[in-house]
Amino acid sequence: MRLLLSFIFLFPTLVFSQKGKIIVEFAEIWGTSVLASVLMVEENNSSIYIEIGNPTKQPSAEQIFSNNFNVNDIGYLILKKNDIFYHNGLMPPVKNVLTEDKAPKINWKILKETKEIMGYQCIKAECEFRGRKVFAFFSPEIPFSSGPWKYSGLPGLILEAWQEDEQYHYVTKKLILNSQLEIPNAITAFIDKLKENPISFKEYVQKENNFSRKLESMTRASLSANSYRATDFLRESDRELQFEWEKEPEKRGSGNVMSLEEMKKKVGLK
């Protein structure tokens, strides 16, 4: 109940002010596919980040922030307000929930390397974020402390970011300065719907992990006899591998290990 109240209290303040927005359209390279994603940052550094879940759909920023946009195409939706993230999930059990993630402040290390992106001089920085090494190019000339996913906290907008293992790589395709685009009613209504199902971040992670476990079980069972697959970490293809409260990344098997006896009983063996 307290959680619910805090949400009702918080969300009205997420409405954006009228002027000086910046919008970044990213191409998010994920394995061999490319996902469209868009970031809108307000003057007060509040932001909304939308990632389209289906690689065959590539709407532009203008299309996403229009009333013709189909909210069913939304994969992730991440709102940022006062350095706290509010978002839904991609997997079915967390698709229609809103969680409050007080992600730890990212401790960026600024590197010497520079690069020009879209006419802006950008500086390279690196950090550890939830078990992943992340690199970014940000531009101090664009004084928004924001970026794709939950990557933020640099003195300038992030125009390129990637995980060290290159599982995810965000590249800017389009930059709209002083944009007049507004969040359309469809997206506002979508957010309102998400607000109806608030869950704590730990619960959110747990739900995601449980679903991944189910998926892993199905994958293992679907293999032919005599072939098997072994994976260590449950969230190894996720952007967030390990959380603040965990000593090490969640393992595949450590969730609910049954004893041999239990297992035998379950499958009807003597």
Binding site: P140, G156, S217
Partner: protein, 883 residues
């Protein structure tokens, strides 16, 4: 106490290396500026530190350096401001007081759109994984690492599949050392030097054909850590049973890779029943794929006779009485000037033994007899293979030349007891083969290329063997004849050239046109002689046992391949092959024209599933195996000859397949295929108690049906997958025995199976399956039916992260119910001693000590039963050490 605090304070002041810079940001109208980026830049324009202003406009940042700096302030809606700051002392606070920022005039704020197309080259066909992210130190080799990557499975034989598609090659730093025999690499290379694993989809071996040919192939490339390049690494495997069983394995791999040079040395020896030739077998046989870079897709190693009978009833680990060793060296060198050299050489010796006791009863048309036999086969092989490949890359073309030499030497030493009388058979044959191929590829533009290939193959294989038995006396009618002496000499020369044009009109439309010419000449000589006890020649009429033939076949061909996709869901592909053949068999000339069209139409959506229909006509021809007319003794008391000349054989086939499901929780697969042959090869045979004669004949019209069904479902409560498997096969043919008119036989075979596999994430997993095969044999001569059954159950239990065990049980029951079932139980324990980079293993094979197979089979004219020896219970202890 007070003093201590004071001293501490002073010390902090004195030794503090930090300088604090603070200030207050305001707009002209005195409003605080919040969330501004405040960046301290040193004189080289590098960021020293940064902070953000608070809601009251205050900021404070800390630096550990001193000197001249620039403080850059960027705030939304304000003009960027730079302030010079200098300080030479450490441990002070610089207060910049109030800094006023100038607002950007509202009329200056206009929407600006900056965009770029193609911001980054997306490697659409490459997925890359950092090896470190997937390794935890327990991986013994690259195979263990690959097993952990999403979508990758490794089969029992070491073949790798990516999303159910078999991987064609595994490369190191872009160079392919082992081609199709990549298990040698993946099962022996340690993971430590590996930096990334790249999965290459739609892979073209020839990089000029990338995006020109429609390739569905998958390849894997391993990139190495910079510091591991040029280092020697590898592994040693040593394993042994107890002194009594006297079985051992020793394996040594040594490799060194740099961008320019790759070296791989391997030595492997075992008499544990392990077949380690799998990884190199591909090198001996000539390439027979349909690839654009190949010509002569129907060429294989000459083989006229086989005196050895290997036991194929079960896997090698049960049946392979062996003593093998193998040494190989692979080397790749990339020259500076676009030249690449690749050398592969292999030397190996193998020994295989097989032991069988049998009982055979024949009953047809008044002839009735029974034979009891005991046979021991032993074969020793000595193979040498060498291959050199040179590649030269030009700007938009490349040239590949390779030359291969192989020498196989096979010795047979067999001992038979026929109805109580001991006999022996001893033989030898040698294959020497050379193959040369040159391929030229030229890329015309980004979507088109031409490929020209020429290939020459020469093979020669003489056979000679002696057999002591009563046949010599029966054939010659001379009781002093004791030995049969069969000589066969076979040779082949092949030369072919092909020219191809490839065009990729769009992602959905692809065309390939091939035209070429090939020539081949087969030579076959054989004669049988009979010898007396002291080696003297026995006279008999040899005319029926003699061959000396030359067969040449030349083909002019053109082929068109076209593939198209439309509306996302439809695809169509067609192949049209025209062949004009002119042949000569001992001065008899024959000409033939063959037109072979085929097509494939497919439709698929996620909700409907995918459906495919295919139909085609194709031609094969009789080969030299079907053309000799004198009898050649094949061993096993049988003689074979042929009663036909050169002839094209037409066959038609049609099929339909449908599959549906997500592949994970439910799968439904069905396919039905039908084949009709205008002509087919059959035999008429004369069967006697002591010997048989087989004559190949060409008959008209036979047909066969084949259908497969697979249903898979993931059961949530059991966390297991259950599968139902079905297979139906029906075929008919005619044959003749003992000069009787042709009679028809119809085989029907129905298989039903059940399989379950767990997907537990804990320490334990299981899988089991059971299959029934119902066989029906209907002939003019009578009816027969019998059922084969087999099952397996495997259990996996991880005692800890480094100690893993598996228990495997197999059950086989063949023939009718009076037969004895064969059962196997195996146990394996694997301990990974990470700190020593070592794996210790214990394998208890055949724990039930099943010593033989007992099998029973029935045909329309005979019944037979046999027992065949198996590798008995043995316990192997071994270690695998990486270095």
């Amino acid at each position: 106490m007070k003093y201590i605090t004071l001293v501490c304070c002073l010390l902090t002041q004195l030794f503090s290396a930090q300088v604090t810079i603070k200030g207050l940001l305001q707009s002209h109208d005195g409003q605080p500026v919040a969330r501004a980026n405040v960046i301290l830049m040193d004189k080289n324009n590098n960021i020293d530190s940064y902070t953000f202003s608070q809601s009251n406009g205050e900021f404070s940042l800390v630096t550990e350096h001193y000197g001249d700096f620039v403080l850059e302030i960027n705030a939304m809606g304000f003009v960027s401001k730079k302030e010079k700051v200098s300080f030479i002392k450490k441990g002070i606070t610089v207060d910049l007081k109030t800094i006023v920022l100038e607002k950007i005039r509202t009329e200056d704020i206009k929407e600006v759109v900056i965009s770029r197309t193609n911001p980054i080259k997306i490697k659409k066909d490459t997925v890359e994984y950092k090896a470190d992210k997937f390794t935890n130190g327990t991986e013994q080799n690259v195979e263990d690492l690959l097993k952990k990557l999403p979508g990758i499975t490794v089969q029992k034989d070491g073949k790798i599949k990516v999303n159910n598609k078999e991987v064609e090659r595994v490369m190191v730093e872009g160079d392919d050392l082992f081609e199709k025999g990549y298990q040698t690499l993946t099962q022996n290379m340690p993971t430590k030097p590996v930096e990334t694993v790249q999965i290459l989809k739609n892979y073209s071996k020839n990089k000029l054909l990338k995006n020109v040919e429609k390739s569905e192939s998958v390849a894997i490339n391993l990139t190495l850590k910079e510091k591991e390049k040029g280092k020697w690494f590898g592994n040693v495997i040593l394993a042994s049973t107890s002194y009594a069983e006297d079985m051992r394995q020793g394996k040594f791999n040594l490799m060194n890779f740099t961008k320019r040079k790759k070296v791989y040395l391997l030595y492997n020896a075992n008499n544990l029943g392990l077949n380690e030739m799998d990884g190199v077998g591909y090198l001996i046989n000539p390439d027979s794929n349909q690839a654009v870079e190949n010509v002569g897709s129907d060429i294989s190693t000459l083989s006229m006779l086989n005196l050895h009978r290997k036991n194929y009833s079960f896997g090698d680990n049960r049946t392979n009485f062996n003593n093998d060793q193998l040494a190989s060296l692979s080397y790749i060198y990339n020259f500076k000037k676009d030249w690449k050299l690749k050398l592969v050489s292999i030397y190996n010796t193998t020994e295989n033994r097989n032991y069988m006791d049998s009982y055979y009863q024949f009953d047809y048309d008044g002839t009735s007899f029974r034979n009891t036999e005991s046979k021991t086969w032993k074969q020793n092989n000595k193979n040498i293979v060498g291959k050199i490949e040179l590649t030269k890359d030009y700007k938009k073309s490349n040239l590949v030349f390779y030359s291969k030499f192989s020498s196989l030497n096979e010795d047979n030493d067999n001992h038979f007891i026929f109805n109580g009388v001991p006999n022996f058979q001893s033989g030898n044959n040698k294959l020497s083969a050379t193959e040369n191929r040159v391929v030229f590829t030229k890329k015309i533009d980004s979507s088109a290329a031409i490929v020209a290939v020429a290939r020459y193959i020469h093979q020669n294989r003489p056979y000679e063997f002696f057999e002591k038995n009563n046949l010599a006396a029966i054939i010659s009618g001379d009781n002093s004849a004791q030995l049969l002496h069969q000589k066969v000499d076979a040779g082949l020369d092949f030369g072919g050239a092909k020219f191809s044009w490839l065009k990729n009109y769009s992602e959905n439309r692809n065309l390939q046109i091939n035209a070429g010419l090939d020539f081949r000449k087969h030579r076959l000589q054989s004669d049988l002689s009979l010898l007396g006890n002291s080696g003297q020649a026995i006279y008999f009429d040899q005319s029926a046992f003699f061959n000396d033939l030359e067969f040449s076949k030349n083909t002019l061909f053109s082929q068109l391949d076209y593939k198209v996709k439309w509306k996302k869901n439809w695809n169509f592909s067609t192949t049209i092959l025209n062949e004009y053949m002119w042949t000569e068999l001992d001065s008899t000339k024959k000409y033939a024209f063959a037109f072979s069209p085929s097509f494939n139409l497919g439709y698929g959506t996620f909700s409907f599933g995918t459906i495919g229909i295919n139909a085609g006509k194709r031609y094969t021809t009789t080969t030299v195996d079907n053309l000799y007319s004198g009898y050649i003794y094949q061993g096993e008391r049988s003689f074979k000859n042929n009663l036909m000349g050169f002839s094209p054989i037409a066959s038609y086939n049609g099929g339909i397949n449908y599959n549906r499901g997500d592949g994970l929780t439910r799968v439904f697969n069905i396919n039905i295929n039908y084949t009709k042959n205008e002509d087919y090869l059959s035999s008429q045979s004369i069967i006697n108690p002591n010997y048989s004669f087989y004559q190949s004949i060409l008959l008209k019209n036979n047909e066969s049906w084949n259908a497969n069904l697979e249903l898979k479902r993931y059961l949530k409560p059991l966390k297991s997958r259950i599968s139902l498997l079905g297979n139906f096969m029906k075929s008919n043919y005619q044959s003749s025995i003992n000069n009787q008119p042709l009679f028809s036989t119809q085989f029907t075979n129905l298989k039903a199976g059940l399989e379950m596999k767990s997907g537990f994430l804990g320490k334990f997993n299981y899988e089991w399956g059971y299959t029934w095969t119902f066989n029906f044999v209907n002939s003019d001569n009578g009816k027969n039916k019998y059922t084969d059954q087999n099952g397996f159950a495997n259990f996996y239990y991880n005692l800890s992260r480094t100690l893993k065990s598996e228990l495997k049980y197999e059950y086989y029951k063949s023939g009718n119910s009076a037969q004895i079932a064969t059962q196997f139980l195996d146990f394996k324990l694997n301990y990974q001693a990470t700190q020593w980079k070592m794996v210790f293993f214990l394998a208890a094979n055949n724990l039930l000590n099943t010593k033989e197979i007992r099998s029973y089979s029935i045909t329309n004219v005979s019944e037979s039963a046999y027992t065949q020896r198996l590798l008995p219970l043995h316990i192997v202890i071994g270690l695998n050490k990486n270095f």
